[in-house]
């Protein structure tokens, strides 16, 4: 089992959810996050004074899946979230030791 963490543009969340639905991925956890990377920041002006906004708003989604599903999901994320410009985000993949569904006590793949 693997955990996929993806940091994406906030505008890509809705289309990504739809695309993941289409390949039967339902479960996910979503966070609003701030971050910085190659996109750099953004300059804002308040009463004529420039303020450099270093951290930008992103969405972070977490999906846990069976090992054989990983490539399909990554492919979908890239397909939906890629614009080709700096700021598209990153994907991180981690091994997951154990999953337990609280309601039933099931563990392993059936608990995903």
């Amino acid at each position: 089992m693997k955990k996929i963490e993806a940091v994406i543009r906030p505008t890509k969340l809705e289309p990504l959810k739809e695309a993941l639905d289409a390949i039967d991925v339902r479960g996910m956890t979503v966070y609003e996050v701030m971050g910085r990377g190659m996109q750099k920041g953004q300059t804002q002006y308040y009463r004529g004074q420039a303020h450099f906004k270093d951290l930008l708003e992103k969405m972070k989604i977490e999906i846990v899946c069976a090992d054989e599903r990983v490539d399909k999901i990554i492919g979908t994320i890239i397909e939906v979230c890629k614009t080709g410009k700096a700021g598209d985000g990153k994907i991180f993949i981690y091994p997951v030791e154990k999953i337990i569904r609280i309601r039933t006590g099931e563990s392993g793949d059936p608990a995903i």
Binding site: M34, Q44, Y45, Y46, R47, G48, Q49, A50, H51, F52, K53, D54
Partner: protein
């Protein structure tokens, strides 16, 4: 300990006055009371009252989220402190019978001898209430300059002293019968010098005496407003209330009130445009905060001139005041390096000075036969008089404010500690959080 002393003073001083002989209800020297004028001024009083909470919104949106309640509290508490001060002594010092053109005497202390007799065409006590709102607003305006760092107790003491020995005499000079600036022939329809230049200069001195906020210069991202819609709400309500402020200063429901109303609306709109055009040109984008700031700059500018100038002059005044104030807040402030948190000097001080001088240029007897002609109508003398009034206000307010704050600092600390400033004034001074969401972003 200090808080207890303040409370004792506030509670007991009205009681002392109750023991003095009762009001005389002297018949006014003026004519009969007009119901129309009375109705109008009651409504205008309510409009001006609204401006102080509106100012709290305007200011509140511009501070960081950890300090929003502290600036609301500074504005609102004045509605208590100055209301009491005004009744006990402030009104008498401002509008009591003249002593040497400098101050009113104590005949109206505790509103002794102030009843419902006619003052002009409205009941005397209505005039007291209307003017009280101006005293409240002026003190509240100053709070923006040293926002995010002043101790609440120090602020209370400052406001009480400042209103008594700076606002009240100045108000007498300009509006009191026999006041020396009034006798000199300077025009100030609704408070360009008394309200705006005075609060702007007091704010500038306050910001300098208290020093910069922690992290003002060394944080790369800078300190930015936490909620601009609050600021826009405040600016909108201020615009609404300002109609009472300026039109009501005619003190009658007459043609002068109408012309004051019209030029007020026009000048604010024109300054809104000129401000956003200036920043559009300067850094490429017209901003919402710029629109709000332009509205206030325009309202400040027309305040001394309302009731004396034509609508076309008002448009022109709005067009020049926007870029001038913008230049001060965007450039001059940073070059000189004072931390006037919410630009009280840059907008009220500078806008007030521009307005008072513009009154000397654009005032016209054709608009108001009780006014005067300005430079544009062949009377350069008025501009000189206006300049003198402005200079006197600046010098008096700057020196007095400096003395008050420096004297206070011998007895109490004016500022919160660095650690308290970091934590935020809401939590440290008031024990409250404005927002339940503690994500901390943009704090």
């Amino acid at each position: 300990m200090l808080a207890r002393k303040i409370i004792m003073i506030l509670v007991f001083s009205p009681l002392l006055l109750l023991m003095t002989p009762g009001s005389a209800w002297a018949a006014g020297e003026n004519g009969a009371i007009s119901s129309a004028d009375t109705t109008f001024i009651i409504m205008c009083t309510a409009l001006v009252l609204l401006m102080t909470p509106a100012l709290a919104f305007f200011y509140g949106g511009m501070v960081r989220r950890k300090n929003v309640l502290s600036i609301f509290m500074q504005c609102l508490v004045i509605m208590g402190v100055v209301a009491i001060q005004w009744i006990i002594i402030g009104y008498s010092l401002s509008f009591g019978p003249d002593i040497g053109g400098v101050i009113g005497n104590l005949e109206y202390m505790g509103l002794k001898n102030v009843g419902l007799e006619a003052s002009g065409t409205i009941p005397h006590q209505l005039f007291v209430a209307f003017q009280m709102m101006f005293a409240i607003l002026t003190a509240a305006l100053i709070a923006g300059a040293f926002a995010e760092r002043m101790r609440f107790a120090a602020f209370l003491v400052f406001v009480l002293i400042w209103t008594t020995i700076v606002y009240d005499p100045l108000c007498h000079w300009v509006w009191g019968v026999g006041g020396w600036i009034e006798r000199m022939g300077a025009l100030d329809f609704a408070g360009g010098t008394v309200v705006h230049i005075s609060s702007g200069i007091a704010g500038l001195v306050g910001a300098m005496v208290l020093g910069k906020r922690k992290g003002k210069d060394n944080s790369k991202e800078g300190i930015v407003p936490h909620n601009l819609p609050l600021t826009l709400l405040g600016a909108s309500l201020l615009w609404f209330g300002w109609i009472g402020f300026n039109a009501g200063s005619a003190l009658a429901a007459d043609g002068i009130a109408v012309t004051a109303l019209l030029v007020t609306v026009v000048c604010a709109g024109s300054a809104l445009l000129s401000w956003i055009l200036a920043e559009w040109y300067h850094h490429g984008k017209p901003t919402a905060l710029g629109a709000a700031s332009g509205i206030i700059a325009g309202l400040v500018c027309i305040t001394p001139a309302a009731g004396f100038v034509t609508p076309l002059s008002a448009i022109f005044m709005g067009l020049i005041v926007g870029p001038i104030c913008y230049y001060f807040v965007s450039t001059v402030k940073h070059k000189i390096g004072y931390d006037d948190t919410l630009d009280v000097f840059g907008i009220h001080g500078v806008g007030g000075i521009v307005g008072a001088l513009a009154t000397g240029i654009f005032a016209s007897l054709a608009v108001n036969p009780d006014g005067a002609n300005g430079l544009l109508y062949g009377n350069p003398g008025l501009l000189i008089t206006q300049t003198l009034a402005v200079a006197a206000t600046i010098v008096f307010v700057a020196i007095m404010t400096y003395i008050i704050l420096k004297s206070m600092s011998l007895f109490m600390s004016l500022r919160v500690t660095e650690e308290e400033e970091e934590t935020g004034l809401d939590l440290v001074l008031h024990g409250e959080d404005a927002y339940w969401d503690a994500s901390g972003f943009n704090s």
